[in-house]
Symmetry: C2
Subunit: 282 residues, 2 copies
């Protein structure tokens, strides 16, 4: 099995590590940043570094680049690969990508995949083992991929100890905007607000244990990964962001009015998230 991973950062790099370790695959790597490619080679993330024109012999090609490059890259790769090759991406937005490849003659070779895993770090140095363990993997629009391609991808992710679920790409983008993308925006803006006021940083240092540290964790995330996601999934994100801002404005009014009953009711209703998240732990 010849596998090529394109994009050797946190996700692609961690995935390559697992393919080598758990499936004993030989993994070829491609990265448009020569330093990243070199680093991935040094760190043993990939066995060799190749150029895109060499993927014609690959059995599996994994696309792990920022989402703005995905649609064009997917077409380019599908054009090049052999008839029976399987191509899948690992991006956080799906609708535009699926639309772009919709009428490609090798559409059934392609599987739209979103493994829900990550950390706030980036680049090949951020690649780690066990990143995907016990997490959820989403395959979108599976009816547009060949059953063989879907089965192969599910098997690979099963080996990585992921639970695969299936969604429509449009629904995926809507839900992920609320549950993932909005979290990143709220965290980035929290970090920004606090950095602006705490210019000497000493107070952040001293007070971060008070809930700030976990809430702001995502504000360490890569701008190069996230800017394209926010733009690609613009419509859904703007809806979620508008609702978030409206909720903040409502809550602000309750504080202004010193409306203790209203504040408690709102927080109590939101405490329900506890049961939802406890459900996840089970």
């Amino acid at each position: 099995m010849v596998v090529t991973v394109i994009g050797l950062g946190l996700i692609g790099g961690s995935f390559a590590l697992e393919l080598k370790k758990r499936l004993n695959y030989t993994v070829q790597g491609i990265d448009n940043n020569p330093q990243h490619a070199q680093k991935a080679l040094e760190l043993g993330i990939v066995d060799t570094v190749i150029t895109l024109d060499k993927i014609t012999t690959s059995d599996v090609v994994v696309l792990a680049v920022p989402v703005n490059y995905l649609p064009q890259l997917a077409v380019q790769v599908l054009d090049l690969v052999k008839e029976e090759a399987i191509v899948f991406d690992m991006g956080s937005t799906k609708e535009k990508l699926c639309k772009t490849v919709e009428y490609h003659e090798k559409r059934t070779n392609f599987v739209a995949v979103h493994p829900i895993a990550g950390t706030e770090y980036s680049g090949p140095e951020a690649a780690i083992y066990h990143l995907f363990d016990d997490k959820v993997n989403i395959i979108c629009d599976k009816e547009r991929s060949s059953p063989y391609a879907v089965a192969t991808v599910v098997e690979i992710f099963n080996t990585l100890k992921m639970r695969t679920i299936f969604m429509n790409s449009k629904e995926h983008d809507k839900h992920i905007a609320y549950v993932s993308h909005l979290s990143h925006i709220s965290s980035f803006m929290l970090g920004k607000t606090v950095l602006e006021i705490e210019k000497d940083e000493k107070n952040i240092f001293d007070m971060a244990g008070s809930g700030f540290e976990s809430t702001v964790r995502l504000a360490k995330s890569s701008p190069h990964m996230w800017s394209p996601i926010f733009i690609e999934n613009k419509e859904n994100i703007l809806s979620s962001l508008n609702e978030y801002i409206d909720n903040l404005i409502e809550f602000r009014a309750l504080i202004e009015q010193e409306n203790s009953t209203g504040l408690k009711q709102t927080m109590k209703a939101t405490n329900h998230i506890k049961e939802v998240l406890n459900g996840i732990k089970k």
Copy 2:
């Protein structure tokens, strides 16, 4: 040493556990909720449960009730305790409390304390060992307390492995609004926004690994603890919340304009939080 802890929830309960374990103190407990008092006794958090009129023999009285009850309770307790007793609170807001006791004849017996520790759980069942280990403790307006009282309190918190720092109560309330209180509001409203859209909860369950879980953790916090904090520290919180909303609106405009450069610049500047938080880890 006779110690009384008033308020046997997460903070008071955890503190009582440590006083018993590390300092071998006999701890008396008071809670206006008889079920909480009974539970604390059952769980071995306190040795006995007493009523407020019995605190006249206490050497140390710890006030661990919601912040809206603190000013009145502090006065009541200072009125009752013996001449050499030490009284300190553990609340998250300080300015109003310090103003209320400012001219009390036993003001120097009182120390305004804020140990920066907690979890998103509440009540006596939430009391745990090691809650305070390696965290920061803030003493406000120390020049208004007797050197003996301050030294005693610092020693107790040292034994609990906390690092004590000193701040002015007004400054404390301003900084904690940004670094702690705002985090809770952003988290509560994130939880609310996602619960509103994800009515069947299945998608939260499946997608929570994508950053949502850590960002929304604080939305599990106690409404009874937090509603008084938001009202007590209203002015500072409204300032921080206004800046937060303004930042979200600015970021929304960048997304609307698909301004990739602006988005990246904003996120890159905020990534600086990484170094600030890494500083904390050292």
